[in-house]
Amino acid sequence: AQSVSQHNHHVILSEAASLELGCNYSYGGTVNLFWYVQYPGQHLQLLLKYFSGDPLVKGIKGFEAEFIKSKFSFNLRKPSVQWSDTAEYFCAALTSGSARQLTFGSGTQLTVLP
């Protein structure tokens, strides 16, 4: 079964610092990858997604992620975080096959200090 790992459980940064959140997946076949964000008390919102092609994908709010197939990784980055980026971030993978489902990592809580 596929799995998604996020090794950073809680990241604390000051405003304007650069961000990188790690995500690794365990699946050898074709996989679609996503990052979602959940602001406090709200639902999950899609930040960005990767299907194929350019491994560097850009999303909303200045976020980007790089797919590195050899490392089974899909790390999320932002050059300069803002206080409003404080939220829970989830990496997710959707595998190919007949019973596709979106499998989430355990999430990373990002706290940005003003």
């Binding site: 679609n32 996503f34 979602y36 959940q38 709200q42 639902h43 999950l44 919102q45 899609l46 997604k49 299907f51 829970e88 989830f90 959707l94 019973a99 596709r100 489902q101 979106l102 499998t103 989430f104 355990s106 999430g107 809580q109």
Partner: protein, 113 residues
């Protein structure tokens, strides 16, 4: 217009009761899902329906019964509620198998006392 709407937003109930959570999507998607988010924020899929047919049924107690009257609605009925059922339940929808991602509802926070 809310794309995926869930009701109620909050639900507090006693152990042993039966309750339902409703979900509706107006995106024209043909697949809908229920996810459970526990106190540690971990998200786990419970059920998936495609065009009113159950396609994914993860290891969930049979006290949980999803019902899809049409492809725009997926309701979740829970019998004999237990303390461990306390969580946030998210409904989601996608077109097909979700290659473009899922759209999530705002969640229902269920508290069993």
């Amino acid at each position: 217009d809310t794309a995926v709407s869930q009701t109620p937003k909050y639900l507090v109930t006693q152990m042993g009761n039966d309750k339902s959570i409703k979900c509706e999507q107006n995106l024209g998607h043909d697949t809908m899902y229920w996810y459970k988010q526990d106190s540690k924020k971990f998200l786990k899929i419970m059920f998936s329906y495609n065009n009113k047919e159950l396609i994914i049924n993860e290891t969930v107690p049979n006290r949980f019964s999803p019902k899809s009257p049409d492809k725009a609605h997926l309701n979740l009925h829970i019998n004999s509620l237990e303390l461990g059922d306390s969580a946030v339940y998210f409904c989601a929808s996608s077109q097909g198998t979700g290659g473009y991602g899922y759209t999530f509802g705002s969640g229902t926070r269920l508290t069993v006392v």
